[in-house]
């Protein structure tokens, strides 16, 4: 008998406004009932957007959807739930001080039998805990139903979240990068549970960018790139390496033009040793034993896919996160990185220039004019004895706007600018400052068009040639390969690769490290 098709999505397109990013461009998806179906692709390939469309969180601009053979138009999360589609988000939506059972059966709690108590909605607590226990047993989960979830481990919290969807009779479960916050052992355990859920006839959609996991658990896998569906493959008849090259675009390494002159390596500017962070800052994995140094005139590219430790590394290097251990040497000083004050001084004195990856939150005051945003970082230059040098500030802003091709006026409110222009403004601000000893650039070209990207890349080469050290944190492999003298890869918060960017390294090879199919 032919298996039923649980989900069929045709020609799904979705453009985000006002940024104009085309996240889905005629994407296709077909999922068999009772299977585990993986959806893979690089960052920004459109996986999450497609899943949000399915869960009713985003309305597509065009396209058709069939659920269990019925054509439908999913208009809201409530509608998706009514169709039996539930999504387990990357960042759990939990009530920390409520018990596991209360979280699972929120809104569906059994009430006391006596009429008055029932009318008042008084919960039958022992019945609730019993219900949670038997649901957990049914799927082979082991949880303490009365424990407050805030005290539970991340993996148990995830189980609670999955049970919550199962308790709501969801037939189609979407899991968005469920293993990104789990250790390997926890991942193993989760996969056993997922197999059990599949066994009970439910369908699982697994968004991930870890190929080993796909090979281990999925029945089929759909590869997405640039908002399009590249193809759907049966896991049994494909190999991990094959899949990796399809994901990375199947470009053989020889064809990649690495147009970079090898800079002469100068003295060491910053050295980090034994850097660790606690797990779960910003819901991430935490860093363990990171060590690197970066030299004058050198670009060290640090690459990772999302939730593999790049955010934590950025926050440590920005002085926003106090690490749990590690030592740092900078400008002839050696110090414990936990003394963030020492480190922040270098940022303050302009010896280190840092470009945040989250421009809207960390790099702009949206309700202030462009000029104010531009001068905010180098106030020493634009204020003399406490008074603003407005002519100078205006002229410098104007020049930067011109040099970096930003569509803006100095007096314009920053909130009126497009995302790309706010980004260019943040970059212009950094490169207009006096040159520091070290640049820390996080996702410098994320969301920029090709021309602006090239412009930024040539700026980076300029400062490199002028003798600055550059730490480039990026999830874009091409950017890392184009600019870096050395490349470092993080996977699950660990340093899995650190090497010279010579002919040996190519896109496919880095991809294997990024996706976890090859390790140090």
């Amino acid at each position: 008998m032919q298996p039923m098709t649980a989900v069929r999505m045709r020609e799904i397109s979705k453009r985000y406004l006002p940024s104009g990013v085309l996240a889905n461009d005629g994407a296709e998806l077909e999922v068999e009932q009772g299977s585990i179906h993986a959806i893979v692709g690089e960052n920004g390939a459109g996986k999450t957007t497609l899943m949000k469309v399915l869960a009713g969180l985003e309305l597509p601009d065009s396209g058709d959807i069939e659920i269990n053979g019925e054509p439908t138009h999913i208009s809201s999360p409530a509608h998706a739930r009514a169709l039996g589609i539930g999504m387990v988000h990357q960042h759990f939506l939990m009530f920390d001080e409520l018990s596991a059972a209360e979280n699972i059966f929120f809104g569906l709690e059994p009430v006391q039998k006596p009429r008055l108590l029932r009318l008042l909605g008084i919960i039958d607590s022992s019945g609730l805990n019993e219900k949670a226990k038997s649901l957990a047993n049914e799927y082979g989960f082991s949880i303490d139903p009365s424990a407050p979830v805030g005290a539970l481990s991340i993996s148990t919290r995830q189980q609670v979240e999955i049970l919550r969807q199962l308790a709501r009779e969801m037939r189609i479960l979407i899991l968005d990068e469920p293993t990104s916050v789990l250790t390997e052992q926890e991942t193993e355990a989760l996969f056993e549970k997922l197999a059990e859920i599949r066994h009970m006839g439910r369908t699982i959609l697994l968004v991930t960018h870890k190929i080993d996991e796909v090979m281990q658990i999925a029945d089929k896998v759909t590869v997405m790139r640039e908002g399009k569906t590249i193809g759907t493959y049966s896991v049994a008849s494909t190999s991990a390496n094959e899949l990796a090259s399809i994901i990375m675009g199947g470009v053989p390494s020889e064809e990649i033009q690495i147009h970079k002159e090898h800079a002469i390596k100068g003295a060491s500017v910053m050295r980090i040793e034994g850097l660790c962070t606690h797990r779960h800052h910003r819901g991430g994995v935490g860093l363990s034993e990171i060590a690197f140094d970066v030299h004058a005139g050198e670009v060290l590219g640090i690459c990772a896919l999302s939730s593999n430790g790049l955010d934590e590394l950025e926050d440590v290097l920005a002085g926003f996160l106090v690490p749990s251990a590690g030592r740092c040497a900078f400008g002839g000083l050696h110090f414990d990185v936990r003394k963030v004050h020492e480190y922040r001084r270098f940022l303050k004195e302009g010896k280190i220039s840092y470009l945040p990856s989250d421009r809207m939150r960390r790099a702009a005051a949206l309700s202030l004019p462009v000029r104010d945003n531009f001068i905010a970082l180098s106030r020493r230059n634009y204020f003399s004895r406490g008074w603003i040098r407005s002519t100078l500030a205006r002229r410098a802003t104007q020049e930067a706007i011109h040099a970096f091709d930003i569509s803006a006026q100095p007096e314009q409110m920053t909130a009126e600018l497009s995302g790309g222009n706010i980004q260019k403004l943040a970059i212009a601000r950094l490169f207009s400052k006096e040159q520091p000893e070290l640049f820390i650039l996080c996702e410098p070209t994320w969301g920029l068009d090709i021309r602006s990207t090239e412009q930024v890349h040539s700026r980076i080469r300029e400062v490199q040639n002028a003798g600055s050290a550059v730490l480039l944190l990026s999830s874009d492999v091409d950017e890392i390969l184009t600019l870096s003298d050395r490349v470092m890869v993080l996977y699950r918060g660990k340093q899995v690769l650190t090497r010279e960017n010579s002919g040996y390294l190519n896109r496919a090879l880095i991809g294997e490290y990024l996706l976890g199919t090859r390790s140090a």
Binding site: P77, A78, R81, H89, L93, M94, F95, D96, E97, L98, E102, F106, G107, E109, V111, L120, G121, I122, I123, S125, R164
Partner: protein, 295 residues
């Protein structure tokens, strides 16, 4: 009974009396706090409850009707606040401030209109109904301290117990708690955080109304500025009690003890009464500082 014991019994008895309005209001405020809203309007809502409660009780001679009027008027105030904050998307603190201003204005204007004075309006109420048989209050020391109280005072404790039970054990209470912990999760599961917030404000209206009414009953009058900061003290009790009803009640007793002591000292010592009046605020401030922490 020796003189010292009698004084001590007196102080403790008045502590329980003084805790009544605080307990009503802070347990009411706990609901909005749990729903994620710092309700700075408790002060004003108590004032509204005190005025309308006393007015209705004075008019009908029926304390129960007065109580209903106190609840009704304070709930109306909290609904106004909730509507402006939730429906019109206004800033919670500014609407809270506005409610406090409104309460002062309305009570003064209506007092002038109905009773032709902005000063103290005294009411003759039926004597308070004792909650315990007279025999119990005859027990030395314990009797006057614990068993000499009115039904209203005892009902503050019942209110706290019932509220604690509802918060912990009902769907409604869980909904309110969940809204404060993670409103996005509540809406992702298909429930309305705004409805829970509105309900929580209604609860704090009920509590503040009762608290204000208890204040009025304790002096059998409506006095301008009768609340005089107790709404804020109730707010601090929520913090100090770490949002746990039992500890909130203990905090209320602590603040009430300082009020009771300050009353006693005023009568029997050479310390100037106006300085002593600051004692409850000082105790509250110190405990607020102690309960704050580095997040």
């Amino acid at each position: 009974m020796s003189g010292t014991a009698a004084v001590l019994a007196d102080i403790l008895k008045y502590t329980i009396v003084a805790a009544t309005p605080l307990l009503f209001a802070s347990i009411g405020g706990l609901f909005s706090e749990l729903a994620g809203m710092l309700n700075i309007a408790l002060e004003g809502l108590m004032g509204i409850g005190a005025f309308f409660g006393m007015a209705a009780a004075g008019l009908t001679g029926n304390v129960f009707i007065g109580m209903l009027a106190a609840i009704g008027s304070a709930v109306a105030g909290s609904l106004l606040m909730g509507t402006v904050t939730i429906k019109f998307k206004a800033n919670l603190f500014i609407t809270g401030l506005a409610i406090n201003l409104l309460a002062g204005g309305i009570t003064a204007v209506l007092s002038q209109w109905w009773y032709h004075t902005k000063a103290v309006v005294a009411f003759t109420l039926p004597p308070p109904v004792p909650a315990f048989p007279a025999a119990l209050s005859q027990i030395p020391f314990v009797g006057p301290v614990l068993f000499s109280h009115s039904v209203l005072t005892v009902s503050a404790w019942l209110w706290a117990i019932v509220a604690a039970f509802i918060i912990k054990n009902s769907r409604h209470g869980i909904r309110i708690q969940a809204t404060g912990m993670n409103a996005q999760a509540v809406s992702s599961l298909g429930y309305s955080p705004d409805r829970a917030r509105m309900a929580a404000l209604v609860w704090s209206g009920v509590g503040s109304g009762l608290g204000g009414f208890a204040l009025g009953v304790s002096v059998s009058a409506f006095v301008p500025n009768i609340v005089s900061g107790r709404g804020w003290i109730a707010l601090v009790a929520i913090y100090l009690g770490r949002k746990k009803p039992l500890w909130i009640a203990a905090s209320c007793l602590l603040f009430a003890l300082s009020e009771s002591l300050s009353n006693y000292i005023q009568g029997f010592s050479s310390i100037p009464p106006l300085l002593v009046l600051a004692l409850p605020y000082a105790v509250t401030l110190v405990s607020l500082i102690a309960s704050g922490n580095k997040r």
